[in-house]
Amino acid sequence: MTFAFHASDWLLLAPELFLTAMGLLLLGLSVALGKTKEDFLAFLATVSVGITGALVAFVATRPERATPILGGAFVVDNFALFFKALVLLSLALTVLASARYVGAAPYPGGEYYALLLFSGVGMLFMASGNNLISIYVALELMALSSYVLAGYFKAEPKSTEAALKYFILGAFSSGVLLYGLSLVYGAGGVMGLPELAKLLASASRSNLLMLGILLILAGLLFKIAAVPFHVWTPDVYEGSPTPVTAFFSVGPKVAAYAILARIFYVAFAKFHADWGFVVALVSAATMVLGNVAALLQSNVKRMLAYSSIANAGYALLGVLGFRTEWGLWGILIYLLAYTFMNFGAFTLIILLESKGYAGESVSDFNGLAKRSMPAAVVMLLFLLSLAGIPPTAGFIGKYYLFTAAMKAGYAWLAILAVVMSAVSLFYYFRIAAAMFFTEGSPAKLKSSYALSAVIAVCAVGTLVIGVVPQPFLEVLKSCVLGR
């Protein structure tokens, strides 16, 4: 292996380096400022995520990013940049949605924002990871920060339970993933994904390799909460502080799709016939179980947890579609839409949560239309989008995913997905019916500027992508991985 560092490599890592530095700064400042000045810390965290976004835009203009950097450990292609932008979007929304929630809680805010930023660093590295080691280390950085955030409200038994379950199952799945990575490394002897792809192109199908691929797949399916690796999701989503839940449902999942796509599209594409069968079964089981279980929930956070499991099933259709570039394209579109609509729905729960865990049951949505018409209408928009009704972003995302599945020869799965989307209407409309047709508490709804801004951004995103999808589709098409 020829190896060379270029000074420009570090320039291309500017977003990651800057975000790490800001995480450290927040940690130091929180000691100096204490609990009373937390709004400033939230403001600083938002600004740092914004500047990191600007740095990502700057990196996009550099010609040096055409080749992998730092000896092939990382790559800054359009695909990575798209995921970095999406991760930063979800990070910024989380910080804004957290400001009031964490400020009112008796827990330190500085460490909270610092942990969010560090998990953001992990996700940025995940988007760029180009060899097995850098991908694994970045994934673990993201995951460890997530475990702590899940248990951040440590006086709440539910939050501690969520953290413990997430940690134990997460550590176990990381072990499975790592074992798979080691078997693939043992079979090939190389760490880099392009080198692995080159090697596998001439390699024959061996059981050792298949076992490695299967274990890697299992480890990653855990991270995106697909059946049968989904059991942690409802408990963790219910127990974690709601802004953290909103974050879990978008950021880490999006980053996990980035590495799932990169590993399976770049390195393992040749063995599509072998793992495609497994993914098809998992996808079908995930869609059915997620949607059916969601029907039975009365807690909105749990319902949205099962809905996000179902959504993971839809997105796996795109993974199946890796034979054509439609699969990857569909995933990108869907994840963009999903970030807006899912985060928006969770932000409405944050808005309704007055104290502790109140505001989480479906009945807390009763009469929302009377209390605040805009809030009810926006929630309806998110629900329509989650159900995949036009003209919303969710429809566009599902359309491309289902088309990708058809083109890859999985028509039966696409039909199942459409049927399951119809099932999902039932539970989404339970919330809608509660908002518009039921009498509820007359208490006035109090929002904050930050929360209103988050909801506005999510609503505009959901609607604009749904009404004028063309520009987004064009941009995302240029972000598809080159084989």
């Binding site: 292996m1 190896f3 560092f5 890592l13 790490t20 940690l27 609990k35 730092l70 000896g71 450990a73 990382f74 008796p106 827990y107 330190p108 460490e111 610092a114 942990l115 560090f118 998990s119 660093v121 992990g122 590295f125 080691i133 850098s134 280390v137 970045a138 673990e140 950085l141 460890l144 920060s145 475990y147 702590v148 248990g151 951040y152 440590k154 006086a155 953290a163 043992g186 079979a187 090939g188 002897g189 061996s206 059981n207 050792l208 298949m210 076992l211």
Partner: protein, 184 residues
């Protein structure tokens, strides 16, 4: 053992013995009733793994294994054992009530693994250990070879790991610290 495996002859026998005892003591860590016995078995397994590293001519990794695991981490475990009063945990059985499930599931997962790992022809490993210590065209010492890999090939993942450790520390403090009101 097929051709091309690093350890043959006497070294191979030594490896088999070391590996078998290391595995046995690792199982004993879980099975032992007394935490002190568990800790001692863990120490034994750490030392044996260090010996295996040295047998593979990876002196640096072996030394690190001794210093960090058998030294530092072991001291940490011993502190915990001292603080939690082993007598109380001795009769704890809460982790053993799923034996029946485990007995059914274990063969289902273990047998395919053993079959694959047993029948698979593994890629050839260079017989000469020097091949692992090549930097460019130069053969260097084991410690130098490790440092080349760590601080050049995987420099940034190495640094990411340091942020990871920082997060672990913050997490331990945040979750372990008593709340502010109680401290007043």
């Amino acid at each position: 053992m097929s051709d091309g495996v690093l350890l043959t002859g006497g070294a191979g026998v030594l490896f088999a013995v070391l590996a078998a005892v290391a595995l046995a003591s690792a199982i004993a860590v879980v099975v032992a009733r007394s935490p002190v016995h568990s800790a001692l078995f863990l120490l034994l397994s750490f030392v044996l793994v260090a010996a295996i590293f040295i047998l593979q001519q990876a002196e640096f990794v072996g030394a690190v294994q001794m210093l960090v695991y058998a030294g530092g981490i072991m001291v940490l475990f011993l502190f915990v054992v001292m603080l939690v009063n082993p007598g109380v945990t001795r009769s704890e059985k809460s982790f053993q009530h799923q034996w029946d499930v485990a007995v059914v599931l274990l063969p289902i997962f273990l047998l395919p693994f053993l079959y694959i790992l047993g029948t698979e022809k593994l890629p050839d490993v260079p017989v000469k250990a020097e091949a692992f210590r090549m930097v460019g065209t130069r053969v260097v010492g084991n410690t130098e070879a490790v440092s080349w890999v760590l601080f050049r090939d995987y420099l940034v993942p190495f640094e990411v790991a340091s942020v990871f450790l920082l997060v672990a520390m913050i997490g331990a403090v945040v979750l372990g610290k008593r709340s502010l009101e109680k401290m007043d």
